[in-house]
Symmetry: D2
Subunit: 348 residues, 4 copies
């Protein structure tokens, strides 16, 4: 592709914003066109995020001055509700939209409105949008103009369960997803709860009584299973910046006990360059994917019993957010899927 993709980013002052910039700054097919922040108008992006010094020369502009309709694609790294207010204008101008918030994740607007406490502003666009999990919806994404980039927890749980749900090999009424996330998942908001002195040297569960990723996971798992799943989802906060690990417990159906799950997963993901089914007996660590778009899965069957324990790791800011968004962009524009995403994870 000789011509570069003109990219706009709405809302570039959070962690998904700076991570998009880190990835796009060196993407060989991208020209960064504009990044918006009403509050920081005029400030150089690299002044706020000094890791970008010498790499990104853009300054924040207001949405009005950003000329986003001149872009080929616009990423929304904004709070929920922003993308759905601006999507129509962009689509009318032929601009593709990738939303990293939740506006185009849940297909059922009633569920959206219940969990996000706001009316859905563009149900028609929602219908044409695609849930941007490339490994599940690759063909549909390639044909789409609007992508709902998946939540971080959902990415791990859905990809962790897809092979067994697609093949109907497990009981679906009582799936347990015990998930753990680094603190960057909470975003770059000034809040007491995520201060260093609160979150460091500490561990806790949160959102047990209800987390917005619950309906998103349930909707996608049910689609894969062809029936409604019963999901217990408990997120936990780990004192680390990046990284997510989900431990999934699922009961094998009596007639599936002879399945070679290791082989099943290896075959299902054989052509997926971002999904690594680790050798039998492995236990993945979050640092093995730090700052990369890789997701790793390991399978265990304790005591060779009837429960499958699936352990999944990813970097919540990359495969769980900005990296997956770039992967979606690559698919949207017919590029090799790993263009600009070919990092080696940073270890140690």
């Amino acid at each position: 592709m000789s011509q570069k993709i003109k990219v706009g980013i709405v809302g570039g002052t959070g962690y998904t914003g700076v991570e998009l910039l880190r990835l796009l700054a060196l993407h060989p097919n991208v020209q960064l066109h504009a990044i918006t922040s009403r509050k920081e108008e005029g400030m150089k992006v690299a002044e706020m995020f000094p890791n970008l010094r010498g790499k990104v020369d853009l300054a924040f502009s207001t949405p009005e001055n950003a000329a986003l309709t001149e872009c080929d694609v616009v990423f929304f790294a904004t709070p929920h509700g922003v993308a759905m207010a601006q999507a129509q204008e962009l689509l009318d101008a032929g601009v593709k939209v990738i939303d990293l918030a939740a506006d185009f994740r849940l297909q059922d607007t009633a569920v959206f409105e219940k969990w996000y406490k706001m009316p859905h502003g563009c149900p028609d666009i929602l219908k044409q949008s695609t849930y941007g999990l490339v490994e599940i919806n690759r063909e549909k994404i390639a044909q789409s103009k609007v992508i709902g980039n998946p939540g971080c927890y959902p990415t791990t749980v859905i990809l962790g369960l897809a092979p067994v749900l697609e093949k109907r090999l497990v009981e679906i009424d009582h799936i347990v997803a015990d998930c753990k996330s680094g603190v960057s998942g909470a975003g770059r908001k000034a809040e007491v709860g995520t201060l260093f002195s609160e979150a460091s040297d500490n561990f806790k569960a949160y959102g047990v009584s209800g987390h917005r990723h619950h309906p998103e996971i349930s909707e996608q798992l049910s689609k894969l299973a062809g029936a409604e799943v019963g999901l217990l989802f408990v997120p936990h906060l780990v004192p680390m910046i990046r990284g997510m690990l989900s431990t999934i417990y699922v009961k094998i159906k009596p007639d599936a006990l002879a399945t070679d799950f290791q082989k099943l997963y290896e075959e299902r993901y054989a052509n997926e360059q971002f999904i690594d089914v680790m050798p039998a007996g492995s236990l993945p660590e979050t640092r093995s994917v730090r700052a990369s778009n890789q997701l790793r899965i390991a399978l265990h069957r304790p005591g060779n019993g009837d429960t499958l324990v699936i352990v999944v790791v990813q970097d919540n800011l990359v495969k769980g957010a900005a990296g997956q968004a770039v992967q979606n962009m690559n698919v949207l524009f017919g590029l090799a899927e790993n263009t600009g995403l070919n990092h080696v994870a940073v270890l140690p």
Copy 2:
């Protein structure tokens, strides 16, 4: 009690050893008599652990020179297998024994030998010993001469499940205990896997295929339930020094769905000063118990469904090890149970 308890510690160079010293140094009824380490003979304890400067004047002595038989009680903060080699001599001299390793935890020597890869050296003493979980075995402990101090993970899972198992309110064939521990649980051994640069900013599961605390938990849960339980136990390593959180998932029996579990737990533990059943809706954090002997429990029932989610936190080095050992000592010697253990947890 006018006379002080003469205390010996075998193996004081690890984290449970220094934690015992931190607690015992200020215990009003204790006189520290000897602490042994063959390797560090002659070195002042406070030279190795400078937090003890001005508080503990003892030097390490060899087991031979320690005159342990003059003690009233000896704590073993040693690798598995040491206590069982020395217990008989101490008992003969009228010394009580509290082992912080596994020698007196598992009642079934075959199970012990399978998991710890060594023969059990004193099955007769084992039979007279008591599993030192005070909240379950208080009366029996008071009559005992040998205490097997519980493992850290077992303490959280057993105390988290005791009320519902005792009352037969939950299904016991498929209990999930997803447990997370700070790194100090791995001890003070020079090993690559627990180096700062390996364990920091990282999260992983381990021991999925089999962890030595599994049979210990199973044995105790089965005793409480009156039948053999099926347990899935997956431990994880959290990048923090101290703290342990266990998330336990258990299915409520159909005829127990109307139970007020909050009330049940509050009543069961009403007189336990180290067990805090938190108000409905709470989520405990490990830092709320840091450096204290407190254990906190919160109960959740997502979607008011048929699964009870029990979240338990403790400091793995205190209630999960040295604090519980001191609590056992207090019971053994008829002291108020919280003598020397009345700390406020350190937060932040």
Copy 3:
């Protein structure tokens, strides 16, 4: 002392506030009378800080309802400027005042007003107040009614230099104090800069062009030296919750090169139970004082040259704030200085 000291705390929602509560909850001579927070009125303190559950039963009250004039002593754990607005009324009622902010630290109101950007509201009270560094001003504190509790950095630098300044053994025109603090020193304010994801796995200098502790240190050092000192003070932020280490570089006067500095320090602090002059060759770690009121000093003279390197550690929230405040209270009320402060530091 048979009767308990009635204690009030103004502003109990920050880290110095909760640390005061941790220390005072178990202080044998203290009765917690009131703790104020206009914003959190009615909330149990232990709901905000669950480490206090079962230890502190107080709820936050408004300053109006707190009946602070009934106290024997009131601690101000508030932003700068609050104590000076309320001190007169308390003093009139016979209540002693210990301010943990800066209102009574700097003797020169012009300097105060320059650095704190507010007029000093009660210069007369300031004149009667005492800088609450017990090891320097013990007798004067015992006679005082108003104490300006020292800043955290100043405590380390002043106590680190006092022996050589008092004896005029070092050059005072070019003292370098390179100081490092844990993040809790920044307080419990919702700010982006101290979020976990900003401060963790990171290290930086700050305030090089001017930090409010600079004039405080200079004023006290000059008093000790009997002449104005030239001080370079650079604070740094360490990714840990608690702890402070100051590395002080000072040139020995030519005629003092034969001094036995180790002996000098040991003698100067021989009777100070909170000051530990470590053996020659030692290097103190912050964790050796974690959660205790201890301050440790080590002296080095690299290459046996003309520079003395003084390394000082303390817990910034204890000896650097709340612990020192309690130490001041003990002196004010004629108690043994370590009453309620006899903790063993928490290691690991």
Copy 4:
């Protein structure tokens, strides 16, 4: 360059080894030929370092089987003393050598032998070798066959001081370098002192009485200054994995007080793509260079006085070790200096 550089790595099981692999795996002009570890022979590198799965297919081989003489260049990521034993054979075969240990850092073999407690095995090769600080010795490196890759601390201090030493603008008898390093600098050795539970939530100075980087820094500074410098160097350990910050205090000569130091540094490093002189008033953070080869410098002159405070940050494993080694390789082989080193630092 059409043909790839054949690269060998001796000693690939430490942090500099895995970091070399991370950088070289994606270097467009490199073909990884062999990596040696006697102990791990036959093990896939990616099994030890799972971040390399799918990126590096090599297995460890013994030095004997590695056919290192077929390489174009060999990196030694080994303990001190290994490179000097093997260098001659490689040089004879026309292979270039880049040693990441200290064998070719100090020009004075007597100093080497004093600090490293071993005789220098090849003083002749040492004489032909070049100290691999590209920004100082670029031309000489291009002509060399043996490179002593600088130590991590020296890199920051030398580059931080070069502009003022070259121009003779500062007093050189009393330079203070207060340096702070992340824990990965201590390497991947099983040692108690760098365990997570020892190093986390802790801060300390070390090596005050003598650190091996002291003579290396002194030698290079003296060369730049044209006279022997007096250096106080105190390293500290920061609880973070990667990152190094040096705070350097130096007195400006009376006749140089009018110098515009900001301009001086900007001009000195104007053409250096890995050296970023930050705008006046800036304070660099280590995370702004995390996982990149960038080094950032900020200058301060507190109170506009006679002391220059120079703050320097780098990633100790990249610019302080493996990245600088690759930069040296690029110069040795006439490649653009940033080939394979064009990363955006990972923030957060």
